[in-house]
């Protein structure tokens, strides 16, 4: 596809997304799209580390939770605006990522993935027992009335949440694109393809892994802060579970790992699928929704393990 057409396509998509809440005024469709944006963003953040740099992390919930907890604790104890809390949350997540990365990046392949699961579980246990941060009880985000942009709380309508989530998604896309085309992007891909060869060419492998991790963690933390302000209640079970890390990974893998558009496509398919199967089959108590959801994921991975982006690329090659 020539660059011009691609830009036209992207602008049309953006216009449609901007217009969506003006057409669909009901909270539920807006909520579904907000969730798509959130997970597309999280998957994009994960993609930076896993897709471009080849480091499969299954502990990204740690950064999500760090963002959620930091901003909420700052609102609760210091009455700090969540916007500032978001930034602080991102800084905390970066610090945590560097601490984790230093020992964990010495491991390769599956061992790295396993270590990130372990880190996730450890942090989850710590949070459950940390009373100041609410412990297992969780934290209510103090409700501020009336609605205010400064407090990032909108009780009348979801429209503002929608545009904020879209903004975060665009930020993640913009950063990924920047990275993709920069020297860093080439370094990351080189590390992904062959770490030893990259090192022999003089690429500082460890440093670039740490940088990718920091960027990925910061973006994930922004998503976590947004989630906390959107749901207004967090507990270790909802922001630190391994299941969340896996879902983030699943969205990216389904859409197409290591591609710019993969995470958005993955989220746009997986999130509504989960919603609809639950709404239409979940009320029976027979777990039909989870069966259908699981079967569809298996189907996609069997038909096209490279993700939906690979499918699209194959189609494009065929047509010429």
């Amino acid at each position: 596809m020539p660059a011009g057409t691609r830009w036209t396509g992207a602008s049309i998509l953006l216009l449609l997304l901007l217009a969506f809440p003006l057409v669909f005024t009901q909270p539920h469709p807006r909520h579904v799209v907000i969730t798509i944006f959130l997970f597309a963003m999280l998957a994009q953040a994960w993609n930076l580390l896993a897709g471009y740099c080849g480091q499969i992390s299954l502990g990204h919930a740690v950064f999500f939770g760090a963002g959620a907890y930091t901003s909420t604790l700052l609102v609760k104890y210091f009455d700090l605006s969540p916007w500032l809390g978001m930034v602080v949350g991102a800084v905390v997540a970066v610090a945590v990522s560097q601490l984790i990365g230093y020992p964990v990046f010495r491991l390769r392949g599956h061992y790295f993935a396993i270590a990130t699961i372990a880190v996730g579980e450890i942090v989850n246990t710590l949070m459950i027992n940390w009373d100041w941060a609410g412990g297992a009880r969780g934290l209510f985000v103090p409700i501020k009335r009336p609605d205010s942009f400064l407090n990032l709380q909108f009780h009348q309508s979801k429209q503002n949440y929608y545009y904020i989530a879209l903004g975060l998604l665009l930020l993640a896309f913009w950063i990924t694109r920047k990275v993709e085309r920069s020297r860093m992007g080439y370094y990351l891909r080189a590390i992904r393809e062959d770490q030893d060869a990259a090192a022999s060419l003089g690429i500082p492998v460890a440093a670039y892994k740490q940088r990718a991790m920091a960027l990925s963690a910061a973006l994930t933390a922004l998503g976590g802060s947004f989630y906390a302000q959107y749901i207004l209640f967090i507990d270790p079970d909802s922001v630190f579970p391994t299941a969340l890390s896996i879902l983030i990974c699943l969205v990216a893998v389904l859409g197409g790992i290591g591609t710019l558009w993969g995470p958005l496509i993955g989220a746009a398919i997986l999130i509504p699928l989960g919603e609809w199967t639950r709404i239409y089959f979940g009320g029976t108590g027979k777990a039909m929704d989870l069966l259908i959801y699981g079967a569809l994921i298996m189907l996609v991975s069997i038909i096209q393990p490279g993700g939906i982006m690979a499918l699209a690329q194959r189609g494009r090659r065929r047509t010429g």
């Binding site: 009780h155 709404i279 108590g285 777990a287 929704d289």
Partner: protein, 427 residues
């Protein structure tokens, strides 16, 4: 285009519906949204609760004369609303607060439910009640036990059941009563709890109350909910040797505790459990003699059916439900859901309207007498925070493989076995 067609057909069917309604005086419908865990490890609780509520809907929608709130009537449907029928919309929250929130929002704005009922998990109830509060829709809760839920002072949130504070208070009141009655004196207590919301809350309240009641807490241990070994914990318990031991455990960890205690031959003089594992019918069946004499708190007692014929009637109906394979007896979870549900329907019936504000006023004015309850409570009346002021927790002891109510002493169906028999004596 398709949208326009759908809108048109919707409008037409609405016209026909009202036209036929005015002809046949067809009653309106009251739609209630039910948000429960229907998948995951507490799914059975959700499924049983929904079964009980569907049973109640059937009773409300036909002529029924059971002595439950608003159920003694000669007409079909709700007499207060000209015979309106009740319809439930049941959804699964999967144990996730954000899913609960989304579902509550969808039920209110799209399905236009009159009220919301749910949702077992305190963490999910926290978010569903926020949504109900925001939209001004009544939210009834029958089982979430985190005290903080009613501490928020919400206008639209009502809880029929006792919270952890009430339950734990009952345990210590029992100890004092028992000391007085039997002339024994307890000095030390030991606490052990799993580390999720439920266990953490329980352990905290127990420690505070133990100190307040003048007992020395010699041990307070948390363990990982999914642990596979309690050797170290039980070993420490045995060494500390508290007079009374309070475990807070779900089923699998409760089983682990019993097995470990048996191996290490640890027997406290008295064991008082915080419900959960100890009220799981499977647990009692599996552990059998090894838990003889264990005490647990409970909001419901099947053995009260001798004194409360209503329990027997409902139990017989429940056993025949098609979603209840094997005809199991009604247990704690479905009775809690049923109670909350009937209290809510009673308010809607008295409000004579599906207007939320009218229902809220009716809920505030709720006064359900004890003879219309399956629970051993003094009634249902809500305080200014929406908490039922008539709650009463009871203690039950496992005697010969069944639950026997032992406290409050005026409701007791059996004497307390004390001290706990050793594992060898139980055979």
């Amino acid at each position: 285009m398709r949208r326009a067609v759908r809108l048109l057909s919707l409008a037409l069917s609405a016209v026909f519906a009202t036209a036929s309604a005015s002809h046949a005086q067809a009653p309106k419908e009251v739609v209630i949204g039910v948000i429960y865990p229907l998948s995951g490890n507490l799914a059975q609780i959700g499924i049983d609760s929904v079964t009980a509520m569907k049973m109640a809907v059937e009773l409300y929608n036909t002529k029924s004369d059971l002595n439950l709130p608003a159920m003694k009537k000669t007409t079909e449907g709700l007499p207060g609303l000209g015979g309106a029928k009740i319809r439930l919309i049941v959804v699964d929250h999967q144990g996730k607060p954000d899913v609960g929130q989304a579902e509550a929002e969808r039920l209110i704005t799209q399905e236009k439910v009159t009220a919301i009922l749910g949702s077992v998990f305190s963490s999910v109830t926290a978010t569903t009640s926020q949504v109900a509060e925001r939209y001004g829709v009544p939210h009834m809760n029958g089982e979430s036990s985190s005290p903080s839920l009613t501490e928020r002072g919400f206008k639209w949130f009502f809880r029929t059941s006792p919270h952890d504070g009430h339950f734990t208070l009952a345990m210590f009141d029992f100890l004092k009563d028992f000391e007085k009655k039997k002339g024994v004196k307890f000095k030390t207590v030991g606490l052990m709890h799993e580390d999720t919301l439920f266990g953490a809350d329980s352990g905290k309240v127990q420690e505070e109350l133990a100190k307040k009641y003048g007992y020395e807490v010699v041990l307070n241990m948390a363990y990982r909910a999914k642990t596979t070994s309690l050797d170290a914990e039980v070993g420490r318990l045995k060494a500390a040797g508290p007079d009374v031991f309070f475990p807070t455990s779900y089923t699998s960890d409760a089983v682990l505790y019993i097995k470990t205690a048996k191996t290490l031959e640890y027997i406290p003089r008295m064991l008082i459990a915080q419900n959960a594992g100890w009220v799981d019918p499977q647990f009692v069946a599996e552990m059998n003699k090894d838990i003889e004499g264990h005490i647990t708190r409970s909001p419901f007692a099947l053995d009260l059916q001798a004194k409360k014929p209503l329990i027997r009637q409902i139990n017989e109906l429940f056993k025949k439900q098609k979603d209840n394979p094997g005809g199991r007896d009604i247990s704690e979870a479905p009775t809690r859901a049923l109670t909350a549900f009937t209290v809510l329907v009673d308010a809607i019936n008295r409000a004579k309207s599906t207007n939320p504000e009218e229902i809220r006023k009716a809920l505030v004015a709720t006064n359900v007498p004890p003879d219309q309850l399956l629970m051993p409570w003094t009634g249902v009346r809500f305080d200014e925070k929406g908490q039922n002021a008539g709650v009463r927790a009871i203690l039950q002891q496992i005697q010969k493989g069944a639950y026997a109510t032992i406290w409050p002493f005026d409701l007791a169906a059996a004497d307390v076995i004390y001290p706990l028999p050793g594992f060898k004596d139980k055979k």
